[in-house]
Symmetry: D2
Subunit: 359 residues, 4 copies
Amino acid sequence: MAGNTFGVLFKITTFGESHGPAIGVVIDGCPSGLILDRDFINAELQRRKPGQSSITTSRVEDEDIEILSGVFENKTTGAPLCIIVRNKDQRSQDYEHLKNVFRPSHADYTYQAKYGIRDYRGGGRSSARETVARVIAGAVAKIILQHKSITINAYVSQVGNVMLNTPPEEIDLTLIESNSVRCPESMVAQEMIKLIEKTAEKGDSVGGVVSCMIKNLPVGLGEPVFDKFHAELAKAMLSINACKGFEIGSGFASASSFGSKNNDAFYSENNSIYTSTNNSGGVQGGITNGEAINFSCAFKPVSTIRIEQSTVSDSGENIKLKASGRHDPCVVPRAVPIVEAMAAIAVVDFILRQKAVQL
Amino acid sequence: MAGNTFGVLFKITTFGESHGPAIGVVIDGCPSGLILDRDFINAELQRRKPGQSSITTSRVEDEDIEILSGVFENKTTGAPLCIIVRNKDQRSQDYEHLKNVFRPSHADYTYQAKYGIRDYRGGGRSSARETVARVIAGAVAKIILQHKSITINAYVSQVGNVMLNTPPEEIDLTLIESNSVRCPESMVAQEMIKLIEKTAEKGDSVGGVVSCMIKNLPVGLGEPVFDKFHAELAKAMLSINACKGFEIGSGFASASSFGSKNNDAFYSENNSIYTSTNNSGGVQGGITNGEAINFSCAFKPVSTIRIEQSTVSDSGENIKLKASGRHDPCVVPRAVPIVEAMAAIAVVDFILRQKAVQL
Amino acid sequence: MAGNTFGVLFKITTFGESHGPAIGVVIDGCPSGLILDRDFINAELQRRKPGQSSITTSRVEDEDIEILSGVFENKTTGAPLCIIVRNKDQRSQDYEHLKNVFRPSHADYTYQAKYGIRDYRGGGRSSARETVARVIAGAVAKIILQHKSITINAYVSQVGNVMLNTPPEEIDLTLIESNSVRCPESMVAQEMIKLIEKTAEKGDSVGGVVSCMIKNLPVGLGEPVFDKFHAELAKAMLSINACKGFEIGSGFASASSFGSKNNDAFYSENNSIYTSTNNSGGVQGGITNGEAINFSCAFKPVSTIRIEQSTVSDSGENIKLKASGRHDPCVVPRAVPIVEAMAAIAVVDFILRQKAVQL
Amino acid sequence: MAGNTFGVLFKITTFGESHGPAIGVVIDGCPSGLILDRDFINAELQRRKPGQSSITTSRVEDEDIEILSGVFENKTTGAPLCIIVRNKDQRSQDYEHLKNVFRPSHADYTYQAKYGIRDYRGGGRSSARETVARVIAGAVAKIILQHKSITINAYVSQVGNVMLNTPPEEIDLTLIESNSVRCPESMVAQEMIKLIEKTAEKGDSVGGVVSCMIKNLPVGLGEPVFDKFHAELAKAMLSINACKGFEIGSGFASASSFGSKNNDAFYSENNSIYTSTNNSGGVQGGITNGEAINFSCAFKPVSTIRIEQSTVSDSGENIKLKASGRHDPCVVPRAVPIVEAMAAIAVVDFILRQKAVQL
């Protein structure tokens, strides 16, 4: 209950700090008999990895997973999986000067206040490096979803003021990985990259939006009232570092719409029921209706910038701070696999929960 | 785990259908020794009640709570509270014609698919009447927060295209209840009311945004990683009927901002630490930093409209449907106390969880 | 997490005090489409009811359930069931003299210390009347088990020094309800009744043992490590008022046995696997093996006796106390349906959990 | 929810198989600022270790913990602790002949039936080696309890027919570790050792009882109704491999007792309240009353014996099996630290839960 666990039946618990010995995850509730493809998990980690291109941090995190439990002869046994990645490129000395400083818009101050102690090296537990564990668990979840032909594809739909205006259903998802910013439209992607590079030159950072599409979900996933499909998704996304907003379907735009326009008319075809529009984003009353799920997550600009800022030391002095460490000028390209991972984990959990609804 | 429970230590479980015998809530984990003010709880229910003004449904829900357990000589005993409200004005016959119809953008189809059965009267469990139970639990939570001088005030910041553009910190919260739309600025409120009335005349409905401000929170609430303060808030809000989006602090606007502008500089004054801006919305690394919390929730237009729509019967026929029952043309004025209730429940839960962090 | 909930997927939360308005239970996770037989539930309550015979308390609890939610046209809908029973025969004045007294071996002192307040009327929340809610939930669970042909039968196997020595597998379960003490062997039952009557005359109380047999369980129920089948059963049983011990299969007798004698040899017959003895009590490694489950629960003598005892007032004075109220001289006959109820709830929960183990 | 987690606020999740890469535990909810003494944890593991004396298995498990997370400069940070021990002395080939055999009274058959797959090497997840993780977590819990002066001491009170008849309150707990069987009375210990040696010579195994004493607990721990102090203890103990029974206070003996004898009279002295006897075992109404907790756990004889037994292969053939591997002839001496560990974990969890009861 101390907040490091997500999920009810497909339950993941992450552990590890940025500069501790390892980052890892325990997955309890993974169905048995699943072939666990190490290469796929490592490939997913590669997508999250820093240093992939000119627009991400040059810090190198060369991951290689170690499976400590739950697998026998390459198959899951139903026992908890523990998978870890060792922390290698630590350079703890980079952080010595931050020992007594609360970096603006970071978690330094709040962790210190909450726990009376903090691991100041690279943010410790609050570091985005924790998402390595999520991507591992997400990869396991995706292996399960492959059995059900369910696909999850996230992409960058906004960087600063550069927006992708194509409606979700018209996106060519196969183009997402064709550029370093992970925007499926080449022209928009180029503008985004330019903005990120320009921002990086100034030592500044810029925000963005990651959108995501889930296809081939069965009708009926999601629990009513508090554990609505999109409520759990929202929690999953807002739990990602730097995420400040979530919307599903017509989202914030629905606030300025009318029922006559926003409602999704049903129609029947070949004994199946569909909606002619999808402002609901695939969820009605908290339960999936068989249409594609589409949602978006707003990410703030990375807090670490190489521009002088006012802040406070842990003894309460007003001081100036200018970061010098390696950092991403824009988090959204690397957030893409993390958004997918959290979505995959949430979906698998709902699939397992749904099994208990009818006798 | 079937989704009707919210909270870890201050744990509420709601039950009841729109047209069943009663709506109610069990609160397990309410601290003992609390004076439970019935009048305050009933007053909160009055704020949620339909039929309060020209812009809400004329359906009358005259609530009166019944406390079934957990109170002795007006004080909580530490035993679970069960509080119910009887359903009176049921008119089940109003819904007979919906028995075999899936209303567009309602939960009829998804519930039928999930459970193989549904209570079609007024939406049954998926009805917004379930929020009566949340408002009751929220009132209990608010009584606890009063002991800590923590205040929670929600207000309407958008109806359709009519927006309140005042920054959260400049809002006069005392004016919220001064008009029927619960917008703290009279001029904007009048425009909103006009839009709702015009929409109602057409038999249509319109969406909106509810914003919320929490003040006087201690530093340190919220659990890292998955149960971040704003992640739980997001789940709480998205679990409310018709809510399609959530943002905290600079939210979606942060996507087009830069770190140099969006970061909140710390400063120290009189031995306390503050931020000079509040784009973080009072939360950093998932943990409260002592600044005011501000967040917003997008609500779609109510799905029930008195305009003919295409839909499908439960036997799969394509049909036309035109609603005739009573309904709200805009949900946001009545959503205000519900947003406050869910926020209060989440905050109390975090306060209790925080007690276990240090020995 | 305040202790009033049992179960993971078939999750019950009870509420209510002995002399408050009502006792009730919310069942979240009850599968949909189940015909809920009111008469069966009321009949189970009758089995628990005081005043059934010369050997139980003459206090009358004439129960009649009220279903507040979760049922539509007699069927469960998948929404939470709330079922209550009003408290009628309250006689609160009977307890006025206990307002300031801590009754020996009751929960008066510990509740006062824990919560700083207590409902002293009839024990309040700590009263065995709370088990009304368990019997209701157990009846719902039994309805589910009937669909699977799983049977649960508890019986009295010991009262004071009078013991039933027949091995579990030789018991004629159809005879349990043939006498007021619920011991399936008439001769032993008569001795038990005599002992209880003699004890009652002295104003004293006597302990006993309830044994229980579960048949037709599938192989594979129970979760490894902490949530072993018999570990959850043990918790369920020890949570019943006055229960002080639990054993499964050869139980405490296995402590003085040898592996060569205690091990259950497997054999195969008609493509099924059986054990030739059942010292395991139907559970191996925490998981059911298809054999009958048999377990026993020790109940201490009822704490309320009409004999003068030394105790302490809530102001710390050493005083004498002699109870005058109505009470059972021996709790085990009425504990039989409660043991069955808790077992049924635990079994249904494991059945639902098992659905999520394989894809 | 797949059963590998114990505790609500001090929450442990164990992972690892007997012959996999590692055994480990994640502890979420460990209070921050605690000095984590590696030597103490390793010393506790030594107490559990096989090969300690003539009466335990000669299999060598030379443990050395590796702390992967949650500690900074030797102190806990409030982040989850992950602590592992590598599996070294694996000899997987010892188990090749068991690949297709279901060992009697082991978990081979039930795991295969539940999961459709099993790691047959040394029992895999069902191996008692899993308790390494519990002892680690228990050592962390004990460090917390040391701050509160709470002590937990388990000891062997029965091996086969050799019983220790001294009442719990008269036991000299300092003598427990003075002999290899961990019975605090030397004469009885010698008899126990003789019985175990004789049993070992025959290739057989023998059962026993571990009793445990918890001292200096505050009044008020434990949650009413389902999460009673002793109900959670019972679950904790029954979750230990080979444990078949649990009793607290007068336990099964209370079944043949009378209220006038079994009730614990209160008395007041120096402004504190005590009981003159302790048949309640320190718990009343599920909540601690400040007296010492005493409880006992029955352990069956180890299932692995070097005597030929009838059993079944996984293809359903009736076969004979005779074990040749290393094993303990009696599990109780090594169960002592495991019982203490589970008790410590349960107590710390209740201490943290108690913090949330009053505002």
